[in-house]
């Protein structure tokens, strides 16, 4: 007998559709299907049981990522002792059941059903874009359909009009069989509920919203419906254009910290479409618009295709060979060090590049530059997470898997907007909320997660920006004073002295919700209710984002969150935990790989002699035992004249960093700026050396997502300019006289494993075997660690940290009466260099300023007006959008477009511990204006000039070839 324990994640081929979802039950039931005995978990459908036994039952409306629906009846079977022909997708197995899936009667029944379907279906299979990959076609073949007796002259839908409004997929209702898979995918998988079946019986049809077009509806273009559709009704336009792909490679999305796995489906060396991969443990076959559709930038004409150099930024570029560019860069770096000293140069690693590439850049800096002036853009997003979690829990990383949320009873989301910034995980939270979990959102904005259908147990703590610590302290105060602590956990797992000190502090009256109400603006009773819901739910899970870290007390807040989780025992098992939602795809990885100036890979401090000794031995050089400069320190030093050269891989500090005018001044003061990127980004406009970067499709490596999951990135096309990013770093290092001899990223990973205690068990061979690995992966946890801190903390006992609330200096006053906070939207990614070069821009053409109706009214502002926004740092102009998502007194914008200059306004205030900028709080004034700001006008002039330099160089290189 075949024995299957089928917990969803299994050794089955993820490319197969088993018809209905796995049942979580541990009780096994034995059945016989066409004489094959098999035992499966209770609750499994007959269809899935058959599929597990290797027997395929015809189906149209079922798919194993959707609940069974039972509408097409094609999957009918016969069951001994039961009457009629039950649908196998909706019938659960029962002990001793005997099932027949094929006989004459069933065949006839199925043929009749197919005949009905086909009589209302255009027979243009040969020219249909789904030809060769259509389930309707397959089923017609499978049931042996030979004739259609009804003819095609009756009433039909054959001339229904196609909806082409979405740039990525089309909707051709004439091919629709009304199986409702798309409707269910939108509801169950994505959680958006944009589609409905309109009408009844023959008149029923699929419709987005209230008979709107896709573009005008609620649709967020995740693609789940397209994937679910068994016909060509919903179809990727890229497939309609290019035809069906012929091979595919599994790789990882390069957009956000969810780290979705995709099948890159190819036709020769052309990428036809990206399809989320069911075998991916982060996304289980779901995706969002960015990973699914926004890959057009990889072949965009703006890609930098050749290395270029120039002596000064007021000159046009010269296109040169790789050797010449690398030689030029190395010479400049050496000259700078000779003139200004060893510490006068540094580098910035990328949170978009692979682990291997990031590791090499920091190695280059430490070993070849001979200093620790390495930093990464995580400085401006999650550096407080590193500091705060390391201090309290002992490891700079989230504690759970994404799947863990399916066991959470209360989900507390602080300063994060998962449905926009981490969409696939946002969908998963929504799934859990629909099952009945309680949601608490602490955020100044009413984020979309609060709009989840069927989630009536929601609370919104709409706090004033900048008062996070006051809020988390008052939550903890309620836990402690109302006796909601998990005493057993604290006693067994936490350091007693620190705990007692913390307890005394947090119990003080000044931390009570009543006392803090005046600060946070959140009614005390709401705080008490939320604290009780989190502490007593059973499993309470915290998810937080940049709304926590990007504050002057970012690190304190992270520690406050960890305190709260420890005090309630919400650490160390599934369904609980403290989870930072990482912005860019490899923020976790770039931090792990030693990008920070004080830490070698694996968060090992540079002053630790034993650790450093180990690195020195493997790398064969002496290493500096003092921390280097962080990004803001580098800028200050550049302006002061002691920091003169910088190597930037895949980052755009001139757009993403706060107080842009300060950054621009710093970049202008450099003697040598080397930028390695796929586009002429804002930073590259200040560069002397421009080295072409490669996209994630053009290289091998790994990314680490927000759940510490190491995923493989696989090359599907050759790098446009001939070199993968790690190869460029290798060349630069060799030119500097420090030899690097890697021939494949797997060798770099072997070195990482050798030097990083949490990575000792990681290798490409194991990644191939397991699909992905969550670090720590070592002798103790050979297959990785899905849930951290189950038995103890890396520092032994958990450390409660005192978290005094200290108000930020950035306060509103008469001159700047509003608070500006910044964030992102679903369709755009970070500085937008990639997504702006795709059709995603149809959703977000420009950055706008959201302002509350009451603030708009006093200023006489109408929707669409030009608004001047000034802070003590600078002034910019954006268009107004009136929105009551914000609290009165708070305005919001994004920074996806460089010319909007949102970061001209943000200040250089930063987190006290890590210098992570305070993007989330800037005091501003807003008024109606008639023209762009001075900065914007200068920006345009400078931008034009730099673009002209680029074009000039390309013309020259083209004529040189002739």
């Amino acid at each position: 007998m075949l024995h299957y324990f089928d917990p969803g994640k299994s050794s089955f081929d993820p490319n197969r559709d088993l018809g209905t979802p796995a049942s979580p039950s541990e009780t096994l039931v034995s059945v016989s299907i066409d004489g094959t005995a098999i035992s499966v978990p209770e609750g499994t459908s007959v269809m899935r049981a058959a599929a597990l036994a290797g027997i395929t039952i015809p189906k149209l409306c079922a798919s194993d990522n959707l609940e069974a629906f039972g509408s097409c009846r094609l999957c009918a079977v016969q069951i001994e002792g039961r009457r009629g022909y039950p649908a196998s997708c909706t019938t659960p197995v029962a002990e001793g059941m005997q099932v027949t899936t094929q006989n004459g009667k069933l065949a006839k029944l199925r043929r009749n059903i197919m005949e009905l379907y086909i009589s209302d279906h255009p027979l243009d299979c040969l020219t249909c874009p789904a030809n060769g990959n259509c389930e309707l076609q397959d089923m017609a073949g499978a049931v042996g359909l030979r004739e259609v007796r009804y003819g095609f002259s009756g009433e039909n839908h054959l001339d229904a009009e196609t909806d082409d409004s979405n740039p990525y997929f089309s909707f051709d209702p004439s091919k629709c069989i009304v199986c409702s898979r798309c409707v269910r995918a939108c509801a169950e998988v994505q959680g958006t509920f944009a589609l409905t079946i309109d009408g009844r019986g023959f008149d029923s049809k699929v419709s987005p919203g209230q008979n709107q077009s896709f573009m005008d509806s609620e649709c967020v273009s995740c693609g789940a419906c397209v994937q679910a559709c068994p016909t060509s009704t919903l179809m990727e336009k890229s497939v309609i254009e290019a035809g069906q792909p012929e091979h595919s490679v599994i790789t990882t999305c390069a957009y956000c910290g969810v780290g979705c796995s995709f099948k890159a489906e190819m036709k020769g060396d052309q990428l036809v479409r990206m399809v989320p991969y069911k075998g991916g443990d982060a996304n289980h076959g779901h995706s969002c618009i960015k990973g699914r559709f926004a890959f057009g930038y990889t072949t965009h004409q703006d890609r930098i295709k050749e290395p270029m150099i120039r002596d000064s930024i007021d000159q046009p570029w010269r296109v040169v060979s790789w050797d010449e560019a690398i030689g030029f860069a190395a010479r400049r770096l050496k000259e700078t060090q000779a003139k200004y000293g060893r510490e006068s140069i540094g580098g910035i690693t990328s949170s978009r590049c692979t682990n291997e590439e990031t590791f090499l850049v920091q190695k280059l800096i430490r070993a070849a530059f001979g200093n620790n002036n390495t930093d990464t853009c995580a400085r401006v997003c999650h550096s407080p997470t590193g500091y705060g979690l390391k201090t309290t829990l002992g490891e700079s990383a989230g504690t759970q898997t994404f799947d863990s949320v399916m066991k959470a009873d209360t989900v507390l989301v602080i300063g994060a907007n998962p449905t926009d910034a981490h969409p696939v995980f946002g969908s998963q939270i929504r799934r859990r909320l629909r099952q009945g979990a309680t949601l608490i959102v602490a955020d100044p904005r009413r984020i979309d997660l609060l709009k989840t259908p069927h989630a009536d147990r929601t609370m919104h703590l709409a706090l004033t920006p900048g008062t996070n610590v006051a809020l988390v302290n008052s939550l903890a105060h309620v836990v402690v004073t109302e006796g909601l602590e998990d005493k057993a956990f604290i006693e067994a797992r936490c350091e007693p002295a620190a705990y007692n000190a913390w307890r005394a502090f947090i119990a003080e009256q000044r931390n009570s919700p009543e006392a803090m109400e005046a600060v946070t603006g959140v009614p005390a009773e709401q705080v008490r209710k939320a604290a009780r819901a989190y502490a007593t739910a059973g499993n309470g899970a915290i998810y937080y984002g940049l709304g926590v870290t990007e504050h002057s007390q970012g690190s304190t807040m992270v520690m406050g969150i960890a305190n709260l989780a420890m005090a309630t025992g919400n650490i160390g098992r599934e369904g609980v935990g403290v989870n930072p939602l990482r912005g860019q795809n490899n923020v976790q990885g770039s931090c792990d790989m030693g990008s920070f100036p004080h830490e070698l890979p694996g968060y090992q401090h540079v002053a630790d002699d034993t650790v450093r000794g180990h690195f020195e031995q493997v790398w064969g050089v002496k290493l500096d035992n003092e921390p280097g400069l962080r990004i803001p320190n580098m800028f200050d030093a550049a302006i002061a004249g002691s920091f003169k050269a910088l190597y930037v891989q895949g980052e755009d500090i001139a757009q993403s960093d706060p107080n842009i005018q300060h950054v621009e001044a710093a970049l202008r003061s450099l003697d040598c700026l080397i930028v390695q990127d796929i586009f002429l980004n804002e930073t590259a406009k200040y560069a002397h050396v421009l080295l072409p970067g490669s996209t994630f499709l053009e290289k091998n490596g790994t990314f680490t997502n927000a759940e510490r999951r190491i995923n493989r990135v696989r090359k599907v096309v050759p790098p446009l300019a001939g070199k993968e990013d790690w190869e460029v770093t290798v060349a630069l290092s060799n030119a500097l006289g420090y030899p690097m001899n890697y021939t494949h990223p797997s060798e770099i990973m072997d070195e990482i494993a050798l030097l990083t205690p949490t990575f000792t068990g990681v290798s490409y061979e194991k990644l191939e075997r397991l699909g992905s690995i969550q670090w720590p992966c070592n002798d103790q946890f050979p297959d990785g660690t899905p849930t951290m801190h189950t038995l103890d903390f890396p520092i032994g006992r958990g450390h409660f940290a005192i978290t005094e609330y200290v108000a930020t200096n950035e306060r509103t006053n008469r001159r700047f009466p509003l608070l500006l906070t910044t964030g992102r939207v679903l369709t755009q990614y970070n500085v937008g260099a990639q997504t702006r070069r795709t059709d995603n821009s149809l959703w977000h053409e420009e950055d706008i300023l959201e302002i509350h109706p009451s603030d708009a009214e006093v200023r006489g502002v109408q929707e669409g007006d030009w608004l001047g926004i000034s802070s003590r740092a600078g002034h910019t102009v954006l268009r107004a959008k009136i929105s009551d998502r914000m609290l009165p007194g708070v305005v919001f914008t994004t920074f996806h477009h460089p010319s909007s200059g949102a970061n001209v306004v943000t200040t250089d205030n930063s987190d006290w511990a890590t210098n992570c900028p305070e993007y989330k709080v800037t005091a501003v004034q807003v008024e109606k204006v008639s023209q762009p700001s001075e900065w914007q006008r200068n920006f345009q002039t400078f931008d034009k000039r730099q673009q002209a330099y680029l074009e000039q160089s390309q013309d020259e290189s083209a004529s040189a070839l002739k």
Binding site: E343, N372, Q553, G628, L629, A637, I639, N915
Partner: protein, 73 residues
């Protein structure tokens, strides 16, 4: 060293001091601040703040001053 660079260092150290002060225990806080600087500040930054403190350190908060004393040790 530019004026602005020094101003930023002063702002940073004072902010670290303010965020670690608990119940007015200045000695304990100064110790925490000094440890923080040792662990996270670059050599040149430490040298600059020490130099500034030695020339009066007018804008350093009392705790920051104590912390720089400890940094020298």
């Amino acid at each position: 060293m530019s004026d602005q660079q020094l101003q930023n260092l002063i702002k940073m150290i004072n902010q670290i001091s303010a965020n670690n002060l608990h119940h007015g225990d200045e000695t304990a806080t100064a110790e925490i601040v000094a440890t923080h600087l040792k662990k996270f500040w670059a050599r040149s930054m430490k040298a600059q703040i020490i130099d500034y403190a030695e020339h009066g350190g007018a804008e350093l908060s009392p705790i920051s001053k104590l912390a720089v004393e400890r940094l020298k040790a």
